[in-house]
Symmetry: C2
Subunit: 260 residues, 2 copies
Amino acid sequence: MDTTSPRDGTVGKALEILDCVAGFGRPVRYSEVLEQSAHPKATLYRLMQTLTNQGMLAYDSERHVYSLGLRLVRLAHTAWRESSLASIAAPFLDELARVGESIHLAQMDGGQVLFIDKRKTSARYETLAEAGRVAPSHCTGVGKAILAHLSPARLERALRQQSFMTYTPNTHETAESLMEELEQIRADGVAFDREEHELGIISIAAPILASNNHVLGAISIATSTNRLNLQELTQFRPELLSTASDIGAAAEAWQFPKTN
Amino acid sequence: MDTTSPRDGTVGKALEILDCVAGFGRPVRYSEVLEQSAHPKATLYRLMQTLTNQGMLAYDSERHVYSLGLRLVRLAHTAWRESSLASIAAPFLDELARVGESIHLAQMDGGQVLFIDKRKTSARYETLAEAGRVAPSHCTGVGKAILAHLSPARLERALRQQSFMTYTPNTHETAESLMEELEQIRADGVAFDREEHELGIISIAAPILASNNHVLGAISIATSTNRLNLQELTQFRPELLSTASDIGAAAEAWQFPKTN
DNA sequence: GTTATTGGTTTCAAATAATGAAACAAGTTC
DNA sequence: GAACTTGTTTCATTATTTGAAACCAATAAC
């Protein structure tokens, strides 16, 4: 699972470590990172020291474990506001949420689907726990919707980054089988998740396109099979498509204010 | 406004650039960063190239501007979940939110107050736009609550990082005047924001303490002077204190699950 | 109580990667 | 078309990163 390209100097290595720590999904000891990392003891040690210094890692001196630092949260705040569709799409999502099912907004990030925003049916508040979550693209509605509209070059690269892990009996297992469906999605305009990522969860997704036909992201309406079946989910198709197109148009129009 | 310590190698410089880009609060041109940064053209150029490569910056090739990259959002997701009080505090905040005023959860990060989570009175959903926001600590309720319980050494360092910018007529202008109030806060148990950061906004805040008396963060109940006055806000004092203490206890008890 | 073992930290010469002055492109503006 | 402004590449010099090995501290084994 080699994520980043090997040669990007010292900062590349440092960031690789962040990914590694993130990958554990829990605070980790130095030695655990050492096992994963290809670097020798001393090198890794100093890098992690630097990262801790810089607030990118946090060190709990009582338990001797590292976790990701809060500086990331501070930076992500800005990233989210500026570099994602979230701020533009927010009002449209609010509107779409009135269908009464969960809404997702996602963008592509390194072959994976990165959830940028969400509207939930339940009233429970959620914050960063929701934004920032990642999922594979070959078995999610938003993922396939985006893949289907990628340029051949980008698609090829994205596919190479897929693991094609099988999550459910419905998951695509090969690039070929996926490609076939992508063709159909391109023709149809919407993508379905037919319990491909998680049994019991289905969704209908539409790509968000800029005028140059560049795909910016995707939105989906997701539900559980207990509530609705695919047939019933399809009824939201018009609203979904018009919302997606509205967001695309808004993104197009969005020019950051002339200087400051 | 020199944020990070000078000598932390290449990664330090790289991260400094991220902060710089974040500081603009909007997409920036290369030359704008160049002006701010002390580095020569070529150096900065390559660093930004690397960061872009790594997904820490995003480059819009049409408008020739950089913004913070989505990789940060992905990483921050994990950081937020693990390295902050947010996940532990969430249920307690939900409960406290029933007082009908806004609730904030904050931690200290580099002398500033970093908002980690929030409950709003209005039903409007908010995500990363809320978590990740920063504010000065010398003029906010949560900030002062935390400062008051910092060890002398940490307090001294935190104070050195304060700009003591005057936001309103009520803002503390000197360390001395602030220190005096901190003493009182320590005795009293809660801190007030008396329209020190923004006119019309007041809050009552309590520190979240671990058993070793280490301060982990703070929570506050904030409102506008249109709704309540300081006197009325004080009525929430018992609930605020007991919630803070509950969160502290929960954080104490929280041991990440034995391996995975 | 001594001896391994494991986990973490420091040293220092060698190797590599970062540096930055300057030349070079590619637009813009005058 | 000349003078800017802005962004990109080159290349010898320099400084930082590197990593084997030594070291230290704490725990486990004997």
